[in-house]
């Protein structure tokens, strides 16, 4: 029996899930606060354990690698899980989420943890579905809400088809490699399976599955509809954790397929010459950021806007994978952390506003500054950060990420990314300008002030504070990101 150490966070989450189920059953009819506390406690302890664990690059249980990257993703996902539970309680959907909701979040996070550590295709697929299936339900949990129903229906259909396509690609890859292990894949790559035509098919189909999970164009269609239909907190969960886990798994696969780092760019620097997979990812990156930003321009509903923006952000992150180097990968990790706080904050605050206004349309945000300056300023900071303006965390993430892209000579890709940043300025700023009306008349109609409960204040402050703080002092975080990615990428 191998050492159970690397599994402790997963076991903790499982225990928490069962405890939640049990307390929920016992406590029927009462206000189910205990399960929520249990779930948060589970996330926190699991995260702390992972934080304290020593990374190890050996493969355990034949399918997992609890290296620095995997542990970092574990901490990341547990953090998101805990914050999502809190955000749900402050958002528009459930004031006190039921035991089922918590169980599903716990199960999905468990899937994410395994997904980000798995170095075996079977485990990867299984974990992938362990993330997906609870998510389908989470989206549709408000059963009487027509929008939620529609969203979950679309999500499950789109998701099932994508995962079937990915599975088909995986099956071909397994046949080509003769094993389900990623290390075997890496060995097979050196034996030249990359030249086989079916390898291209496998790459494309796998990429389709990952692209679904991270909502990259052209497999993004579900995202705007699903985010718009789901409670804001769930939208944030999908946009952050689910996506991050997808990236983690993609990084694992790319690390197996790509030997070392990509070469310095030649020519204008569009796509690297390496294996197919990188080029596929590169195309996805270009499409996602360009179309995501362009489509976001026309959105008037906050959750749809954030959905399109998250598609664009997926593009930036894919860019880092395309230019596969230690510096872009560290940038990616940094960006993911920035992305975590920015998006969770955006969705959480959106949820608070929707709860009070009954709508997420831009008109609901008009004059928010006069209703509650606190929320307005917090959201404004988040928007600035999402745009990538200094001195916020989003800027730092973008800076490091694009620094890596440019340093490798992929000028055209980098410039395209930066141009996209300029486009995104518009729609983020529209939210900001809506919140801070400039003439007195505009504000008058919305002059009823809101009293913000302490919990709302704490949650928004807790999410926005890192956006500001890490925007100013990110050196430690940057060192950490570099350490985390060292284990993933070879020389």
């Amino acid at each position: 029996m191998p050492d159970l150490g690397p599994l402790v966070p997963s076991i903790l989450l499982t225990v928490a899930a069962l405890a939640v189920l049990l307390t929920d059953l016992l406590g029927r009819g009462r206000r189910p606060v205990v399960p929520a506390v249990l779930a948060i406690a589970g996330f926190v302890t699991a995260g702390l354990v992972a934080w304290g664990q020593a990374p190890d690059t050996a493969v355990v249980f034949g399918v997992l690698r609890a290296d620095a990257f995997g542990l970092a993703m574990t901490v990341f996902c547990c953090l998101v899980g805990a914050l999502t539970v809190v955000a749900t309680m402050r958002g528009e959907a459930f004031r006190t989420p039921g035991g089922e909701y918590l169980l599903l979040i716990l199960a999905a996070v468990l899937g994410m943890i395994i997904l980000s550590m798995s170095v075996d295709l079977v485990t990867l697929y299984l974990a992938f579905e362990t993330v997906s299936i609870p998510s389908y339900v989470l989206v549709g949990m408000r059963r009487s809400d027509l929008k939620a129903n529609e969203a979950s229906m679309k999500y499950v259909l789109f998701g099932a088809v994508s995962s079937a396509a990915m599975l088909y690609g995986l099956s071909l890859l397994v046949g080509l490699v003769g094993s389900t292990s990623l290390d075997a894949l890496s060995v097979a790559m050196t034996n030249g399976i990359g030249a086989q035509p079916i390898f291209w098919v496998a790459c494309v189909l796998m990429a389709a599955g990952f692209a679904f999970k991270i909502s990259a164009v052209p497999f993004h269609f579900w995202a705007p509809d699903v985010y718009a239909g789901a409670p804001a907190a769930v939208g944030g969960f999908l946009a952050v954790a689910s996506k991050a886990a997808g990236f983690a798994a993609l990084i694992r696969v790319v690390a197996a397929v790509v030997p070392g780092q990509v070469a310095q760019a030649t020519g204008a620097g569009w796509l690297p010459d390496g294996p197919f997979l990188l080029q596929v990812v590169g195309v996805l990156a270009i499409l996602s950021m360009t179309f995501g930003n362009a489509a976001a321009l026309r959105q008037t509903e906050i959750k749809r806007l954030l959905a399109w923006s998250s598609i664009a952000h997926a593009g930036y992150i894919l860019l880092a994978i395309t230019v596969w180097s230690d510096s872009t990968l560290a940038g990616l990790v940094l960006y993911l952390v920035a992305y975590l706080f920015m998006n969770l904050a955006a969705f959480a605050i959106a949820g608070m506003v929707i709860r009070r206004q009954g709508s997420g349309e831009m008109s609901a945000f008009r004059g928010l500054a006069r209703r509650n300056v606190w929320l307005a300023v917090a959201l404004a900071i988040v928007m600035f950060s999402l745009t990538g303006l200094p001195p916020f965390f989003g800027f730092v993430g973008k800076l490091q990420l694009f620094y890596g892209v440019f340093a490798k000579g992929y000028i055209a890709l980098g410039v395209l990314g930066l141009l996209n940043g300029v486009v995104s300025l518009y729609y983020y700023m529209r939210v900001v300008t809506a919140m801070f009306p400039f003439s007195e008349q505009e504000g008058e109609e919305a002059a009823t002030a809101w009293r913000l409960p302490l919990a709302d204040k704490l949650l928004s402050a807790g999410l926005v504070a890192p956006v500001v703080l890490f925007g100013l002092f990110w050196s430690p975080l940057w060192e950490w990101a570099k350490a985390v990615t060292e284990s993933v990428i070879g020389g």
């Binding site: 899930a17 249980f61 089922e100 599903l104 485990t123 299936i133 059963r143 046949g175 035509p197 098919v201």
Partner: protein, 175 residues
């Protein structure tokens, strides 16, 4: 008169028979105007594939296919069809699928797969060894900590979450 030795042809004949059965059933599932017929098409395809599994010497998987797919998933789907059949909308148990674009996309996909398969060398054995019983190795693989024990455990969590979620959603509304 001596009958020609048909032994070398039996396996191919069975294969082509099963394959044709599965593929034609699948196409029927795609095109049948009645949903129930589509479900039957699926069932037939399941059986065809199960037959192919037996031909491949995968007896356990073939059996699981019959039990789980036909006995479980298909029944679930048929229940779904029946429960949603009484609908006030135009779309009930019958539906004439619009095939033009799907057939084009599907055809293109198939063509692309064929092209790729055609040029690929899987380093496969032309004549595989005689099939061995698989149940015991599969069982061992599931329970071996160095193989698939962890995914096996994970799948139980997946099932738990799926069932709790499904039960929550499908529960009759209190109002």
């Amino acid at each position: 008169m001596k009958l020609p030795d048909l032994t070398p042809y039996i396996a191919p004949a069975v294969f082509y028979g099963l394959a044709a059965f599965a593929v034609i059933s699948a196409i029927a599932a795609a095109t049948a105007p009645k949903i129930v017929h589509a479900a039957f098409g699926l069932m037939a395809a399941f059986f065809g594939v199960a037959g192919l599994y037996f031909m491949l010497g995968a007896d356990f998987v073939g059996l699981a296919q019959v039990i789980v797919y036909v006995g479980g998933i298909l029944v679930l789907l048929v229940f779904g069809i029946l429960m949603t059949g009484k609908t006030r909308s135009t779309l009930g148990l019958e539906e004439k699928p619009k095939l033009l674009i799907p057939a084009f996309v599907g055809g293109l996909f198939f063509f692309g797969l064929l092209l790729a398969l055609h040029g690929t060398d899987f380093a496969a054995r032309a004549v595989p060894p005689d099939p061995q019983p698989t149940t015991a190795p599969i069982g061992r693989a599931f329970l071996d900590p160095e193989q698939y024990l962890l995914p096996f455990e994970l799948s139980s969590m997946l099932l738990l979450a799926a069932l709790v979620g499904a039960a929550y959603l499908a529960r009759r509304r209190r109002t």
